[in-house]
Symmetry: C2
Subunit: 210 residues, 2 copies
Protein backbone atom coordinates (compact mmCIF):
# COMPACT_ATOMS: atom_id res chain seq x y z
CA UNK A 1 0.00 0.00 0.00
CA UNK A 2 2.66 2.57 0.81
CA UNK A 3 4.27 4.67 -1.90
CA UNK A 4 1.80 4.17 -4.76
CA UNK A 5 3.01 4.16 -8.33
CA UNK A 6 1.29 7.44 -9.08
CA UNK A 7 1.12 9.98 -6.23
CA UNK A 8 -2.35 10.55 -4.87
CA UNK A 9 -1.52 13.87 -3.27
CA UNK A 10 -0.07 17.15 -4.41
CA UNK A 11 0.19 20.46 -2.58
CA UNK A 12 -2.14 21.93 -5.12
CA UNK A 13 -4.81 19.29 -4.73
CA UNK A 14 -4.55 19.56 -0.96
CA UNK A 15 -5.00 23.32 -1.08
CA UNK A 16 -7.93 23.12 -3.47
CA UNK A 17 -9.76 20.47 -1.47
CA UNK A 18 -9.06 22.33 1.73
CA UNK A 19 -10.58 25.49 0.35
CA UNK A 20 -13.58 23.50 -0.87
CA UNK A 21 -14.25 22.23 2.63
CA UNK A 22 -13.85 25.70 4.10
CA UNK A 23 -16.19 27.24 1.54
CA UNK A 24 -18.81 24.54 1.89
CA UNK A 25 -18.75 23.81 5.60
CA UNK A 26 -16.82 26.53 7.35
CA UNK A 27 -13.37 27.11 8.69
CA UNK A 28 -13.90 24.91 11.71
CA UNK A 29 -14.97 22.00 9.56
CA UNK A 30 -11.49 21.73 8.10
CA UNK A 31 -9.49 19.18 10.02
CA UNK A 32 -6.53 17.24 8.78
CA UNK A 33 -8.42 13.99 9.19
CA UNK A 34 -11.48 15.18 7.30
CA UNK A 35 -9.31 16.64 4.59
CA UNK A 36 -7.40 13.37 4.32
CA UNK A 37 -10.60 11.38 4.13
CA UNK A 38 -11.81 13.56 1.29
CA UNK A 39 -8.55 12.83 -0.50
CA UNK A 40 -8.75 9.07 0.11
CA UNK A 41 -5.73 9.11 2.31
CA UNK A 42 -4.78 8.98 5.99
CA UNK A 43 -4.14 12.18 7.87
CA UNK A 44 -0.45 11.56 8.45
CA UNK A 45 0.20 11.39 4.72
CA UNK A 46 -0.66 15.06 4.37
CA UNK A 47 2.47 15.90 6.29
CA UNK A 48 4.58 14.71 3.40
CA UNK A 49 3.33 17.72 1.48
CA UNK A 50 2.42 20.28 4.09
CA UNK A 51 4.38 21.41 7.12
CA UNK A 52 1.46 22.12 9.38
CA UNK A 53 -2.22 22.94 9.28
CA UNK A 54 -1.56 26.60 9.88
CA UNK A 55 0.92 26.59 7.05
CA UNK A 56 -1.66 25.07 4.76
CA UNK A 57 -4.13 27.79 5.70
CA UNK A 58 -1.55 30.44 4.90
CA UNK A 59 -0.96 28.91 1.48
CA UNK A 60 -4.68 28.78 0.79
CA UNK A 61 -5.02 32.38 1.91
CA UNK A 62 -2.15 33.39 -0.30
CA UNK A 63 -3.87 31.86 -3.30
CA UNK A 64 -7.06 33.75 -2.57
CA UNK A 65 -5.15 36.99 -2.17
CA UNK A 66 -3.60 36.57 -5.57
CA UNK A 67 -6.87 37.71 -7.11
CA UNK A 68 -6.44 41.18 -5.68
CA UNK A 69 -5.87 43.72 -8.41
CA UNK A 70 -3.45 46.59 -7.90
CA UNK A 71 -2.98 47.41 -11.56
CA UNK A 72 -5.14 50.52 -11.26
CA UNK A 73 -2.31 52.47 -9.70
CA UNK A 74 -0.72 52.64 -13.13
CA UNK A 75 -3.51 55.03 -14.05
CA UNK A 76 -3.88 57.26 -10.98
CA UNK A 77 -4.09 56.85 -7.25
CA UNK A 78 -7.86 57.20 -7.12
CA UNK A 79 -8.67 54.44 -9.55
CA UNK A 80 -5.80 52.46 -8.06
CA UNK A 81 -7.28 52.73 -4.60
CA UNK A 82 -10.76 51.99 -5.79
CA UNK A 83 -9.98 48.93 -7.85
CA UNK A 84 -7.69 47.63 -5.13
CA UNK A 85 -10.38 48.00 -2.51
CA UNK A 86 -13.07 46.45 -4.67
CA UNK A 87 -11.07 43.51 -5.89
CA UNK A 88 -9.76 42.91 -2.39
CA UNK A 89 -13.25 42.84 -1.02
CA UNK A 90 -14.46 40.64 -3.87
CA UNK A 91 -11.66 38.16 -3.21
CA UNK A 92 -12.62 37.92 0.44
CA UNK A 93 -16.34 37.81 -0.27
CA UNK A 94 -15.70 34.82 -2.52
CA UNK A 95 -14.55 32.85 0.51
CA UNK A 96 -16.27 34.38 3.53
CA UNK A 97 -15.42 31.49 5.83
CA UNK A 98 -11.75 32.13 5.32
CA UNK A 99 -11.93 35.82 6.18
CA UNK A 100 -11.41 35.43 9.92
CA UNK A 101 -8.17 33.64 9.24
CA UNK A 102 -6.97 36.04 6.57
CA UNK A 103 -7.79 39.07 8.62
CA UNK A 104 -6.16 37.75 11.74
CA UNK A 105 -2.50 37.73 12.50
CA UNK A 106 0.59 38.65 10.57
CA UNK A 107 0.30 38.89 6.82
CA UNK A 108 3.60 37.30 6.01
CA UNK A 109 2.02 35.94 2.91
CA UNK A 110 3.67 36.90 -0.32
CA UNK A 111 0.56 37.99 -2.21
CA UNK A 112 -0.50 40.26 0.65
CA UNK A 113 2.89 41.89 0.87
CA UNK A 114 3.09 42.36 -2.87
CA UNK A 115 -0.25 44.13 -2.85
CA UNK A 116 0.77 46.31 0.08
CA UNK A 117 3.95 47.20 -1.75
CA UNK A 118 2.07 48.22 -4.86
CA UNK A 119 -0.43 50.28 -2.91
CA UNK A 120 2.24 52.11 -0.98
CA UNK A 121 4.23 52.73 -4.14
CA UNK A 122 1.20 53.94 -6.04
CA UNK A 123 0.25 56.39 -3.34
CA UNK A 124 3.69 57.85 -2.77
CA UNK A 125 4.31 58.30 -6.48
CA UNK A 126 1.08 60.25 -6.60
CA UNK A 127 2.52 62.69 -4.12
CA UNK A 128 1.23 61.34 -0.85
CA UNK A 129 3.74 61.55 2.02
CA UNK A 130 4.86 58.22 3.49
CA UNK A 131 2.76 58.61 6.58
CA UNK A 132 -0.38 59.34 4.60
CA UNK A 133 0.23 56.43 2.28
CA UNK A 134 0.41 54.15 5.27
CA UNK A 135 -2.75 55.53 6.81
CA UNK A 136 -4.70 55.43 3.58
CA UNK A 137 -3.71 51.82 3.04
CA UNK A 138 -4.76 51.04 6.58
CA UNK A 139 -8.10 52.84 6.40
CA UNK A 140 -9.01 51.16 3.18
CA UNK A 141 -8.09 47.78 4.53
CA UNK A 142 -10.29 48.42 7.56
CA UNK A 143 -13.25 48.94 5.29
CA UNK A 144 -12.50 45.90 3.22
CA UNK A 145 -11.91 43.56 6.14
CA UNK A 146 -14.77 44.94 8.16
CA UNK A 147 -17.24 44.56 5.35
CA UNK A 148 -15.92 41.18 4.27
CA UNK A 149 -16.51 39.88 7.75
CA UNK A 150 -20.07 40.14 6.55
CA UNK A 151 -20.53 41.03 10.13
CA UNK A 152 -23.25 43.53 9.68
CA UNK A 153 -26.24 42.21 7.85
CA UNK A 154 -25.58 38.62 8.72
CA UNK A 155 -25.08 39.69 12.28
CA UNK A 156 -28.77 40.01 12.86
CA UNK A 157 -30.69 36.83 13.54
CA UNK A 158 -33.54 36.33 11.13
CA UNK A 159 -36.31 35.61 13.60
CA UNK A 160 -38.62 38.58 13.87
CA UNK A 161 -39.94 37.84 17.35
CA UNK A 162 -36.59 38.69 18.88
CA UNK A 163 -36.84 42.36 18.05
CA UNK A 164 -40.35 43.50 18.75
CA UNK A 165 -40.77 45.03 22.21
CA UNK A 166 -37.13 44.72 23.04
CA UNK A 167 -35.40 46.70 20.28
CA UNK A 168 -38.04 49.01 18.81
CA UNK A 169 -35.80 50.58 16.20
CA UNK A 170 -34.78 47.20 14.86
CA UNK A 171 -38.27 46.06 14.02
CA UNK A 172 -37.28 45.40 10.45
CA UNK A 173 -33.88 43.91 11.18
CA UNK A 174 -35.04 40.37 10.56
CA UNK A 175 -35.37 41.27 6.89
CA UNK A 176 -31.69 42.04 6.64
CA UNK A 177 -30.73 38.48 5.93
CA UNK A 178 -32.36 38.47 2.52
CA UNK A 179 -30.74 41.69 1.41
CA UNK A 180 -27.50 41.09 3.28
CA UNK A 181 -25.24 41.05 0.25
CA UNK A 182 -26.81 44.09 -1.35
CA UNK A 183 -26.74 46.18 1.82
CA UNK A 184 -23.19 45.20 2.61
CA UNK A 185 -22.03 46.20 -0.85
CA UNK A 186 -23.90 49.48 -0.77
CA UNK A 187 -22.53 50.32 2.67
CA UNK A 188 -19.04 49.50 1.52
CA UNK A 189 -19.39 51.70 -1.52
CA UNK A 190 -20.82 54.50 0.58
CA UNK A 191 -17.86 54.48 2.93
CA UNK A 192 -15.31 54.02 0.17
CA UNK A 193 -16.68 56.96 -1.77
CA UNK A 194 -16.75 59.11 1.34
CA UNK A 195 -13.19 58.16 2.17
CA UNK A 196 -11.90 58.90 -1.31
CA UNK A 197 -13.79 62.19 -1.47
CA UNK A 198 -12.29 63.20 1.82
CA UNK A 199 -8.84 62.26 0.60
CA UNK A 200 -9.21 64.19 -2.66
CA UNK A 201 -9.55 67.41 -0.72
CA UNK A 202 -6.49 66.72 1.38
CA UNK A 203 -4.51 65.70 -1.69
CA UNK A 204 -5.21 68.99 -3.41
CA UNK A 205 -4.09 70.90 -0.35
CA UNK A 206 -0.91 68.86 -0.09
CA UNK A 207 0.09 69.12 -3.73
CA UNK A 208 -0.87 72.80 -3.96
CA UNK A 209 1.71 73.66 -1.29
CA UNK A 210 4.67 72.56 -3.34
Amino acid sequence: MPRPSTPRLSPDRIRRTGLEIIDAEGLEALSMRRLAERLDVRAASLYNHVATKEDLLHEIADEVMREVDVSGFAQDWITGLRTWARSYRAALAGHPNLVPFIAYGPARRDAALRAADAVHGGLTSAGWPQRYATMIGASTKYLVVGSAMGSFSHGFPADAALYTNRYPHLSRAHLLHQKAAEIDTASFELALTALIDGLKVQHQQLTAET
Copy 2:
Protein backbone atom coordinates in the same frame (compact mmCIF):
# COMPACT_ATOMS: atom_id res chain seq x y z
CA MET B 1 -15.17 16.34 48.16
CA PRO B 2 -18.23 17.03 45.99
CA ARG B 3 -20.63 19.86 46.74
CA PRO B 4 -18.50 22.09 48.97
CA SER B 5 -20.15 24.15 51.70
CA THR B 6 -19.41 27.40 49.89
CA PRO B 7 -19.55 27.30 46.10
CA ARG B 8 -16.20 27.75 44.42
CA LEU B 9 -17.63 28.82 41.08
CA SER B 10 -19.99 31.45 39.82
CA PRO B 11 -20.82 32.48 36.27
CA ASP B 12 -19.27 35.82 36.97
CA ARG B 13 -16.00 34.42 38.28
CA ILE B 14 -15.84 32.04 35.32
CA ARG B 15 -16.35 34.87 32.85
CA ARG B 16 -13.80 37.10 34.54
CA THR B 17 -11.13 34.42 34.69
CA GLY B 18 -11.87 33.39 31.13
CA LEU B 19 -11.35 36.92 29.92
CA GLU B 20 -8.13 37.15 31.92
CA ILE B 21 -6.74 34.10 30.16
CA ILE B 22 -7.79 35.45 26.76
CA ASP B 23 -6.25 38.84 27.43
CA ALA B 24 -3.03 37.43 28.79
CA GLU B 25 -2.43 34.44 26.55
CA GLY B 26 -4.74 34.65 23.58
CA LEU B 27 -8.05 33.24 22.47
CA GLU B 28 -6.60 29.84 21.68
CA ALA B 29 -5.11 29.53 25.15
CA LEU B 30 -8.56 29.38 26.67
CA SER B 31 -9.60 25.79 27.12
CA MET B 32 -12.12 24.47 29.56
CA ARG B 33 -9.45 22.46 31.33
CA ARG B 34 -7.06 25.37 31.65
CA LEU B 35 -9.85 27.59 32.83
CA ALA B 36 -10.91 24.99 35.36
CA GLU B 37 -7.36 24.58 36.60
CA ARG B 38 -7.10 28.31 37.15
CA LEU B 39 -10.28 28.11 39.20
CA ASP B 40 -9.08 25.12 41.27
CA VAL B 41 -11.70 22.89 39.84
CA ARG B 42 -12.12 20.10 37.29
CA ALA B 43 -13.30 20.93 33.80
CA ALA B 44 -16.62 19.13 34.06
CA SER B 45 -17.67 21.31 36.98
CA LEU B 46 -17.79 24.32 34.71
CA TYR B 47 -20.76 22.81 32.95
CA ASN B 48 -22.86 23.32 36.04
CA HIS B 49 -22.64 27.03 35.35
CA VAL B 50 -22.09 27.35 31.63
CA ALA B 51 -23.89 25.59 28.79
CA THR B 52 -20.95 25.37 26.43
CA LYS B 53 -17.64 26.99 25.70
CA GLU B 54 -19.10 28.97 22.83
CA ASP B 55 -21.83 30.19 25.12
CA LEU B 56 -19.25 31.32 27.63
CA LEU B 57 -17.44 33.26 24.92
CA HIS B 58 -20.67 34.96 23.94
CA GLU B 59 -21.28 35.99 27.52
CA ILE B 60 -17.76 37.34 27.83
CA ALA B 61 -18.19 39.22 24.57
CA ASP B 62 -21.46 40.64 25.76
CA GLU B 63 -19.79 41.99 28.86
CA VAL B 64 -17.10 43.67 26.79
CA MET B 65 -19.70 45.17 24.49
CA ARG B 66 -21.47 46.73 27.41
CA GLU B 67 -18.78 49.40 27.51
CA VAL B 68 -19.90 50.79 24.18
CA ASP B 69 -21.37 54.24 24.56
CA VAL B 70 -24.38 55.29 22.52
CA SER B 71 -25.42 58.18 24.72
CA GLY B 72 -24.10 60.72 22.22
CA PHE B 73 -27.16 60.32 20.04
CA ALA B 74 -29.09 62.31 22.63
CA GLN B 75 -27.10 65.32 21.45
CA ASP B 76 -27.02 64.94 17.66
CA TRP B 77 -26.33 62.23 15.15
CA ILE B 78 -22.77 63.34 14.46
CA THR B 79 -21.54 63.22 18.02
CA GLY B 80 -23.63 60.11 18.50
CA LEU B 81 -21.94 58.39 15.62
CA ARG B 82 -18.51 59.55 16.63
CA THR B 83 -18.69 58.57 20.27
CA TRP B 84 -20.28 55.27 19.36
CA ALA B 85 -17.52 54.47 16.90
CA ARG B 86 -14.75 55.53 19.26
CA SER B 87 -16.07 53.76 22.33
CA TYR B 88 -16.81 50.67 20.27
CA ARG B 89 -13.29 50.61 18.96
CA ALA B 90 -11.87 51.29 22.42
CA ALA B 91 -13.86 48.40 23.87
CA LEU B 92 -12.46 46.04 21.26
CA ALA B 93 -8.95 47.41 21.56
CA GLY B 94 -9.09 46.69 25.26
CA HIS B 95 -9.33 42.99 24.50
CA PRO B 96 -7.69 42.48 21.11
CA ASN B 97 -7.50 38.71 21.46
CA LEU B 98 -11.25 38.52 21.69
CA VAL B 99 -11.88 40.56 18.55
CA PRO B 100 -11.85 37.65 16.10
CA PHE B 101 -14.61 36.01 18.07
CA ILE B 102 -16.67 39.17 18.52
CA ALA B 103 -16.39 40.10 14.88
CA TYR B 104 -17.33 36.67 13.65
CA GLY B 105 -20.79 35.30 13.36
CA PRO B 106 -24.20 36.54 14.39
CA ALA B 107 -24.29 39.13 17.12
CA ARG B 108 -27.20 37.68 19.02
CA ARG B 109 -25.72 39.23 22.11
CA ASP B 110 -27.93 41.60 23.99
CA ALA B 111 -25.44 44.43 24.40
CA ALA B 112 -24.69 44.44 20.67
CA LEU B 113 -28.34 44.53 19.74
CA ARG B 114 -29.06 47.28 22.23
CA ALA B 115 -26.30 49.38 20.73
CA ALA B 116 -27.53 48.72 17.21
CA ASP B 117 -31.01 49.73 18.27
CA ALA B 118 -29.79 53.01 19.73
CA VAL B 119 -27.72 53.80 16.66
CA HIS B 120 -30.56 53.13 14.29
CA GLY B 121 -32.94 55.13 16.42
CA GLY B 122 -30.55 58.03 16.71
CA LEU B 123 -29.98 58.20 13.00
CA THR B 124 -33.61 57.96 11.94
CA SER B 125 -34.71 60.58 14.46
CA ALA B 126 -32.10 62.85 12.92
CA GLY B 127 -33.88 62.55 9.62
CA TRP B 128 -31.96 59.77 7.95
CA PRO B 129 -34.13 57.36 5.95
CA GLN B 130 -34.20 53.77 7.17
CA ARG B 131 -31.96 52.53 4.42
CA TYR B 132 -29.34 55.16 5.09
CA ALA B 133 -29.42 54.51 8.79
CA THR B 134 -28.69 50.87 8.12
CA MET B 135 -25.86 51.63 5.74
CA ILE B 136 -24.29 54.20 8.01
CA GLY B 137 -24.38 51.78 10.90
CA ALA B 138 -22.82 49.15 8.71
CA SER B 139 -20.07 51.38 7.31
CA THR B 140 -19.10 52.59 10.72
CA LYS B 141 -18.99 49.07 12.07
CA TYR B 142 -16.75 48.08 9.18
CA LEU B 143 -14.26 50.71 10.22
CA VAL B 144 -14.39 49.71 13.84
CA VAL B 145 -14.11 46.00 13.29
CA GLY B 146 -11.53 46.35 10.57
CA SER B 147 -9.32 48.56 12.65
CA ALA B 148 -9.81 46.54 15.82
CA MET B 149 -8.57 43.51 13.99
CA GLY B 150 -5.40 45.51 14.35
CA SER B 151 -4.37 43.67 11.30
CA PHE B 152 -2.67 46.49 9.57
CA SER B 153 0.32 47.68 11.50
CA HIS B 154 0.79 44.48 13.39
CA GLY B 155 0.36 42.61 10.17
CA PHE B 156 3.83 43.47 9.04
CA PRO B 157 6.58 41.29 10.44
CA ALA B 158 9.22 43.29 12.22
CA ASP B 159 12.28 41.84 10.57
CA ALA B 160 13.74 44.32 8.15
CA ALA B 161 15.51 41.83 5.92
CA LEU B 162 12.22 40.53 4.61
CA TYR B 163 11.42 43.72 2.74
CA THR B 164 14.59 44.95 1.11
CA ASN B 165 14.94 43.84 -2.51
CA ARG B 166 11.60 42.13 -2.55
CA TYR B 167 9.16 44.89 -1.66
CA PRO B 168 10.93 48.16 -2.37
CA HIS B 169 8.13 50.42 -1.25
CA LEU B 170 7.87 48.69 2.09
CA SER B 171 11.44 49.34 3.11
CA ARG B 172 10.30 51.02 6.28
CA ALA B 173 7.51 48.60 7.09
CA HIS B 174 9.50 46.85 9.78
CA LEU B 175 9.23 50.02 11.85
CA LEU B 176 5.46 49.77 11.92
CA HIS B 177 5.43 47.53 14.96
CA GLN B 178 6.65 50.24 17.28
CA LYS B 179 4.14 52.79 16.15
CA ALA B 180 1.37 50.30 15.50
CA ALA B 181 -1.10 51.69 17.99
CA GLU B 182 -0.56 55.29 16.98
CA ILE B 183 -0.84 54.61 13.26
CA ASP B 184 -3.91 52.47 13.68
CA THR B 185 -5.68 55.14 15.69
CA ALA B 186 -4.72 57.86 13.24
CA SER B 187 -5.91 55.79 10.29
CA PHE B 188 -9.16 55.08 12.03
CA GLU B 189 -9.72 58.74 12.80
CA LEU B 190 -8.87 59.67 9.22
CA ALA B 191 -11.45 57.32 7.81
CA LEU B 192 -14.06 58.17 10.41
CA THR B 193 -13.70 61.89 9.75
CA ALA B 194 -13.88 61.36 6.02
CA LEU B 195 -16.97 59.23 6.38
CA ILE B 196 -18.75 61.73 8.61
CA ASP B 197 -17.79 64.62 6.35
CA GLY B 198 -19.18 62.76 3.39
CA LEU B 199 -22.37 62.03 5.28
CA LYS B 200 -22.81 65.64 6.38
CA VAL B 201 -23.14 66.72 2.78
CA GLN B 202 -25.69 64.06 1.99
CA HIS B 203 -27.63 64.87 5.14
CA GLN B 204 -27.97 68.51 4.17
CA GLN B 205 -29.26 67.53 0.76
CA LEU B 206 -31.76 65.12 2.24
CA THR B 207 -33.15 67.47 4.88
CA ALA B 208 -33.23 70.46 2.55
CA GLU B 209 -35.67 68.62 0.28
CA THR B 210 -38.48 68.45 2.80
